[in-house]
Symmetry: C2
Subunit: 211 residues, 2 copies
């Protein structure tokens, strides 16, 4: 066994984060758009996966408009309790926003079972009945994106931002391509990769970059 | 815009999962150990990242001993509320176990600040005072693994399993190599990659594979 002394050189928490971002910057394959850079770098910080440098897609002006939405008190709807747990809710609440996840709600489960659709799709419908224009952070369910696409077309939701980063092998790639055609601001991880951790990291990067 | 009809061919939830695992099996670069396979495949399902096929390391007999621990009512200690949110707590509770995360506890924050160490390290010390032999699911903080290594050497904790899958650029690789030298059962994602989602997926794969 190694000597226990060896890991006494551990850096303090803030220094670990600073040094991590330094390493990420050194290893970036090319320079980034300065507005998008904090989002991309925080996703890499969360995944250790540099493929996000090229898979993350941003609609025109999305960083500014997303921060404006947060500043105006927008709340965030997520498709998993993991995304909800990962977002810095305290920082969001400074502006008046909250994080909601309807996935474990009894009414959502009942409807999903009755109609043979996902709880994620029903959750999006539930958000449409709340009468607010939300930020959507979707890290898991492509069906949430499909349902949002329809709800936008039907003018039942008016998202301030859609973070479309579900992960997976079935319907995921198509759902992300589709949502980029909707007339709303988006940040999407093209391809199969993404996840709850990625969705939360994007929200936090937007929050941490605000004055 | 695409026709809204196009995504009416969406598969029902159970079918999406079945089909996903089918695709994962088809794309595996080589055959897997049959006991480890469900864990590896669920991690890929959660990340869409096939590099875990070769980065996940298992101590001898860990799958059987981990399931035995769950069967005996072991609880799980996590280093983030995201891991806690991702574990199927209902399934765990069938055997009597619970999921604990001390990261947001006031006493943990106070001690961490006073001593200039991470809350994750203090959380591990807190678990040592609870008088139970836990499963540890570490998806974020290498300092949790460093502290666990010492607590094991000092015979203050006797983990039934350590899931060591923090992600990151500083101390992460070393912390994972170190914990594999401790005399306890482990599942570790070698290298930089991992995360809360990976930690939760490993717990769930262990749970879902139990009779």
């Amino acid at each position: 066994m190694k000597s226990l002394r060896e890991h006494e050189k551990i850096l303090p928490p803030a220094e670990i984060e600073r040094r991590s971002f330094e390493i990420i910057e050194q290893e970036l394959p090319h320079t980034l758009d300065p507005l998008q850079a904090p989002v991309i770098k925080r996703v890499i910080h969360t995944t250790a996966d540099f493929s996000y440098v090229d898979s993350l897609c941003f609609s025109q002006g999305v960083i500014e408009s997303a921060r404006q939405a947060i500043r105006e008190g927008s709340s965030i709807i997520t498709d998993t309790n993991m995304v909800k747990a990962g977002i810095n809710g305290e920082r969001l609440s400074v502006y008046g926003g909250k994080v909601h996840c309807f996935m474990a709600d009894e009414d959502v489960a009942v409807q999903a079972r009755a109609r043979g659709i996902t709880r994620a799709a029903v959750s999006m419908e539930k958000s449409a009945m709340m009468g607010e224009n939300y930020i959507y952070a979707i890290g898991n369910a492509p069906t949430a994106l499909f349902r949002l696409y329809d709800l936008i077309a039907e003018e039942k939701v008016f998202p301030r931002l859609i973070i479309g980063v579900p992960v997976g092998f079935v319907h995921v790639v198509e759902a992300k391509e589709l949502i980029m055609q909707a007339p709303v601001p988006y940040i999407v991880a093209r391809g199969r990769k993404g996840g709850s951790n990625v969705a939360a990291a994007i929200c936090n990067a937007l929050l941490y970059g605000m004055e």
